[in-house]
Symmetry: C2
Subunit: 204 residues, 2 copies
């Protein structure tokens, strides 16, 4: 039997994807599970449910709860938290770049985007925010941006979003196991990884 | 310093409240925390957000995810799971009864309602389902039902629902600590109880 694998679906505009992206690497490595990072856009999925904005904005009670919950989670993980304005941030460019990167660079770039967005409150829709992140990873921003905006790469992202809708992802982040179990939320990383590892501990 | 306390807010129509209600007693006892059981109705809170039905029915993607998630959770806890029809069940009568009971009988009655509803798929809106549960707790169903439907008891439930809205409960189940922290979901019982116990472990 080969190494267990799991798909980590995340959205750059998603608050709970921030701690999840920072935690998933160590949690998966501890169980010997290989993670495929799959950035996608929640916009089309939310639009299909009639939402034209983040549900955290549409439903203020949920929004207030979420921000306080994020404060607690980030404090417990010693992660900085600064609310980006506006919320949610437009995540299209960052997502296209992440998709254009290889499996080595994608996780590091994604973590750096989350840190800029939610750790420092910086605008991730702007190339001027993202280019320095690529430079600090040893990549050529112009070359990567050109690849990110190519028709082939745009199509690739569209196919990933279609796949996310087809799987039935209810939000982000999600783990999807090889046997198609979905685990939704930063608070379900352990349950999803345990399922993938075959231990299937109580997924309370 | 006295015993730590926590409020457990739950709704009989809520699926995730079922495993939470079955788990909370042991988890709280292990930490020496006293639990106040506070049944309430989500209907008015959802109506204020424009929902006239369960969000799990309004948003089928979330509904499909929830039911599969419930299957996994119940399997891991060795709890039976039978979907009641219709879903959600009308919970007003059961909630009035629970409110009318004292702090000793309320948890036991509430667990038995959840077992009938989600463990056996029985209709909890009907007095014929609920009366035998009272009998098996050594209570007089006629006396309890009369108290449950009294104007005083109806007012008490209305005040509890108003309080839930005032606190800003985003759903059910929720734990609310003495310092007004809200922890939403069956998957956050440990985090809420740890907060109440003062240990404040990472609330991933």
């Amino acid at each position: 039997m080969g190494m267990s694998t799991i798909d980590f679906w995340y959205e750059f505009a998603s608050t709970y994807s921030y701690p999840a992206a920072l935690r998933i690497g160590a949690l998966a490595a501890a169980r010997g599970i290989e993670v495929t990072w799959r950035p996608f856009l929640l916009g089309p999925i939310f639009a299909a449910q009639g939402w034209r904005d983040s549900p955290f904005n549409i439903y203020p009670v949920k929004g207030r709860y979420m921000w306080r919950d994020m404060e607690r989670i980030c404090a417990s993980l010693a992660l900085p938290l600064v609310r980006p304005e506006p919320f949610p941030q437009q995540s299209l460019l960052a997502t296209r770049i992440a998709i254009a990167l290889d499996a080595q660079a994608r996780p590091a770039f994604s973590r750096s985007v989350y840190h800029a967005e939610f750790g420092e409150g910086r605008p991730i829709a702007e190339a001027s925010t993202l280019a320095p992140l690529l430079v600090s990873l040893g990549l050529d921003p112009e070359e990567v941006m050109e690849r990110a905006q190519s028709p082939e790469n745009k199509d690739l992202l569209k196919r990933e979003c279609a796949r996310a809708a087809e799987i039935g992802l209810p939000g982000a982040p999600c783990l999807v196991t090889a046997d198609n179990e979905i685990f939704w939320g930063n608070d379900r990383l352990d349950a999803g990884l345990d399922w993938a590892a075959g231990t299937r501990r109580p997924s309370t």
